[in-house]
């Protein structure tokens, strides 16, 4: 069975076709409303050919060139999270009869085989963290599980990290690990096509349908070089993978107040973060009193409601909210899931409307003792 080969760019459609023939709905990156977004992919032409992203704290812009590459960008505001952990979804419904008896009914998303094209290494790392959270504890999240089951992942190694990326320092990118990547196919893009490698059995059987050409030595060199360049291109970093010891001694650091003065407490960072999982439950009763829908939606540790308990808000001000976020993300995650909750994608930096930079905040906290 072929597990490795070259797919010329003009044949990329074959991959989509093979996936569709295997029953997958294909989703891939496209340019929409000024950003790279994952939507249903009608054909390979819809991929963001020639598009680059320029990212900086609080800033994201797309630029176009004649470069034929379709994956020469880093990332957009979201990747996998909304496909698995939906921003808003019904969990159960309850009907009430005339006598007041209640009957509860679980509501599950329709299970469907979804293939996502163009997933990044950081997205995969984040997916593993969300898996650990939603699937591997005492309780499985039924909604997440239903969507996760059919997922087919086509990863593409990053060649052009954004200025906000720091996955090298978190150990999550810019390319998918050779072993245990947690996806089905891994692509390296070269000027005229892709080097395709299968990373799972499903991937291998799919590859067999593509009629791949052998990979040349020259191509291998190009791939190795561009991987190396992508690593070296990153300028941001976190000082260490496990920041627990540092953060534990910084709980009263003045920097928290400093960042709170700049922070809007708007929740953009947690919403775009591929690992953040907080959500809240709500109820929507039908007006005739016959039934009610219980749903959940993304919440954030930056909202007042997040820490509200009858009459007290434990984290009433932004200083405490930002500290909760950072000490959880970079600290408590280690205890909860055996690693940091940050995969270095840099989204919270770019999509923060006021450009607060997690790496800069950590550096400032690390710089001196309180």
């Amino acid at each position: 069975m072929t597990t490795h080969g070259y797919l010329a760019r003009e044949y990329f459609g074959r991959l989509l076709e093979a996936l569709r023939n295997s029953g997958y709905r294909c989703v891939g990156p496209q340019v929409l409303d000024g950003a790279i977004q994952y939507r249903d992919l009608p054909n390979a032409q819809a991929l963001p050919s020639g598009w680059r992203d320029s990212q900086a704290p609080g800033r994201y812009r797309l630029e176009h060139s004649n470069n034929p590459r379709q994956f020469a960008w880093a990332n957009g505001p979201q990747a996998l999270k909304p496909f698995l952990f939906a921003p808003r979804e019904t969990l159960w419904c309850v009907e009430r009869d005339a006598r007041g008896a209640l009957s509860f009914r679980a509501v599950l998303p329709e299970a469907q085989a979804l293939a996502v094209i163009g997933v990044r290494a950081c997205d995969l790392a984040a997916l593993h963290l969300q898996d650990a959270h939603f699937l591997q504890g005492q309780f499985q999240d039924a909604q997440y599980a239903a969507r996760r089951d059919g997922l087919f992942l086509v990863a593409v190694n990053c060649t052009h990290p954004a200025a906000t990326c720091f996955c090298v320092s978190t150990g999550d990118g810019p390319d998918v690990p050779e072993a245990n990547g947690g996806c089905d196919l891994v692509l390296d893009e070269v000027d005229d096509g892709f080097i395709v490698r299968s990373a799972s059995e499903r991937g291998a059987s799919l590859i067999a349908q593509l009629g791949l050409a052998p990979v040349t030595l020259a191509q291998q060199t190009v791939v190795a070089d561009q991987r190396q360049q992508a690593r070296e291109a990153q300028t941001r970093m976190l000082p260490s993978r496990d920041l627990r010891p540092l953060l534990d001694t910084r709980l009263e650091h003045p920097r928290w107040a400093d960042v709170a003065a700049r922070c809007l407490s708007c929740g953009n960072c947690t919403s775009v973060c591929p690992t953040c999982f907080c959500h809240s439950d709500h109820e929507s009763p039908a007006i005739d009193g016959s039934d009610s829908t219980h749903y959940r939606e993304w919440d954030s540790c930056f909202t007042q409601g997040h820490s509200y308990i009858h009459g007290i808000t434990l984290r009433a001000d932004t200083r405490l909210r930002y500290r909760q976020w950072l000490t959880h993300k970079l600290g408590a995650w280690h205890d909860q899931y055996g690693r940091s909750g940050c995969v270095g994608c840099g989204r919270c930096i770019s999509w923060c409307p006021v450009g607060i930079d997690i790496t800069e905040e950590v550096a400032a906290l690390a710089a001196d003792t309180p």
Binding site: V31, D33, G34, P48, S49, W51, H64
Partner: protein, 440 residues
């Protein structure tokens, strides 16, 4: 009844009208001795606080003058700014504004017919009662109203104070799939629209012919909604810029709204005036439908307003379906960022006018801007203040004809029915008190 009967009728809160108004009527010796349509909605002085604001603020703020016809305010306002800035919108945007506006006609007319006017003709006080007598008609009305709301939301994200309009076009172009869904609903609604026209034609409407001057916009290519010249049944044919030369507003003491006159006389704006003046531009199918029902326009029966409104519902459904028939998303080949469906413009100093046919009649705006394009002076003339003098005139005539010796309750109801027939929007009416600074 004796000639000496003295009746004082006060209807302190007019029900089923938008806004807060009252009617005062006193009859002495068989004659109306005082009749005052009072508008006591407090003034909101919009024209004053628009000063210093930029175009988008004006578009968003003037919408808040009226929750029922915000689209009209936005379109009249945006046109005025586009004329100042010299912005030529694309044919796409021009057509889509017409569709957007059709949504408002649909919504406002359906609301007025079913919730406000029709209960009168069934002896009901409210739509809730009417629903018990003719549930299907009410459901049909609510469906059409909802369709109108959704059509507005397609271009404006919501139906009350929509957020889609900007100088140069729209902020957002609806997706092909959203338009396809809407088109299907519009086509399906044709049956409702036709049934509605038939239903209004059969209502037991009073037969009350009067002499009045109609004023509306007219456009050579279409039944005028968003653009055209001002014409009247008295022979006027004016550019909108010339409005102020012929139309005057005056302040009457019993009302916080202003009364408008055309060359010193009351006049009518709104659906009946429009259909009277532009009947020949209605689609042949609609004319056939109306003719077959024995209703002929131009009509002097003020109560044919409700039929005119239903006919415009039909027209709005038809026009929106037609214009969305060839819909495309402007300037978005696959793989490019969604372009803003608007042309660029540069704010500058100038004076600009905007006028469009709000559901209740012509809504006229004038703005003067400074070099940054911000407002230095604003004037807005809404339809209801234009109809107010006509309403008082109509009340005098029709109540006298109705018989001033009738029992008070009947007079009261007839008076309210006459007022409601105009679909007065009192919220609109009062927000335009012109600031006349006395200079010493």
């Amino acid at each position: 009844m004796s000639e000496q009967r003295r009746i004082d009728i006060r209807i302190p809160v007019l029900a089923r009208v938008e806004g807060e108004g009252a009617l005062d009527l006193s009859i002495r010796a068989g004659q109306i001795d005082a009749l005052r349509l009072e508008i006591y909605e407090p003034p909101r002085l919009y024209e004053q606080f628009l000063i210093g604001r930029h175009a988008q603020d004006v578009i968003d703020m003037t919408a808040r003058i009226c929750g029922i016809c915000p689209v009209a305010y936005q379109i009249s306002a945006v046109q005025a700014f586009e004329s100042i800035y010299g912005t030529e919108v694309t044919p796409w945007a021009e057509a889509m504004r017409r569709v957007f506006y059709c949504g408002e006609w649909l919504q406002s007319h359906a609301l007025h017919i079913h919730l406000l006017a029709a209960p009168d003709f069934f002896g009901c006080t409210s739509v809730v009662e009417l629903a018990q007598k003719d549930a299907e008609a009410v459901r049909r009305g609510l469906r059409l109203q909802a369709l109108g709301n959704d059509l507005i939301a397609l271009f404006g994200a919501r139906s009350v104070h929509p957020v889609g309009v900007r100088v140069g076009g729209f902020h957002h172009a609806p997706s092909l799939s959203a338009v396809a869904d809407m088109r299907a609903r519009l086509n399906a609604a044709r049956a409702d629209a036709e049934a509605l026209v038939r239903w209004t034609a059969k209502l037991p409407l009073p037969d009350d012919e009067q002499d009045f001057v109609s004023v509306a916009m007219r456009h050579p290519d279409e039944y005028a909604i968003t653009r055209g010249r001002l014409v009247s049944s008295a022979g006027h044919d004016l550019a909108i810029e010339d409005y102020e030369r012929h139309f005057q507003e005056s302040h009457v003491p019993h009302s916080t709204a202003l009364h408008a006159h055309l060359d010193g006389k009351p006049y009518l704006v709104g659906p009946l005036a429009r259909i009277n003046l532009n009947y020949t531009q209605l689609p042949a199918a609609l004319r056939g439908l109306l003719g077959g029902l024995g209703i002929h326009f131009p009509s002097r029966n003020m109560f044919h307003s409700i039929v005119a409104r239903a006919a415009e519902v039909w027209l709005a459904v038809d026009e929106a379906a037609r214009l969305l028939g060839e819909y495309r998303v402007p300037g978005t080949p696959i793989g490019t960022p969604t372009g803003t469906p608007a042309v660029a413009s540069t704010p500058r100093a100038g004076i600009g006018f905007g006028c469009s046919e709000a559901p209740r009649g012509i809504l006229w705006h004038r703005y003067v801007t400074d070099a940054q394009g911000n407002v230095v002076e604003a004037r807005i003339v809404p339809p209801t203040s234009q109809n107010q003098a006509r309403m008082e005139e109509d009340l005098r005539i029709s109540l006298t004809r109705f018989g001033l010796d009738r029992p008070e309750a009947e007079l009261r109801l007839r008076g309210e029915t006459v007022i409601r027939n105009y679909d007065p929007c009192i919220s609109c009416a009062t927000h335009f008190l012109r600031l006349r600074v006395a200079r010493v």
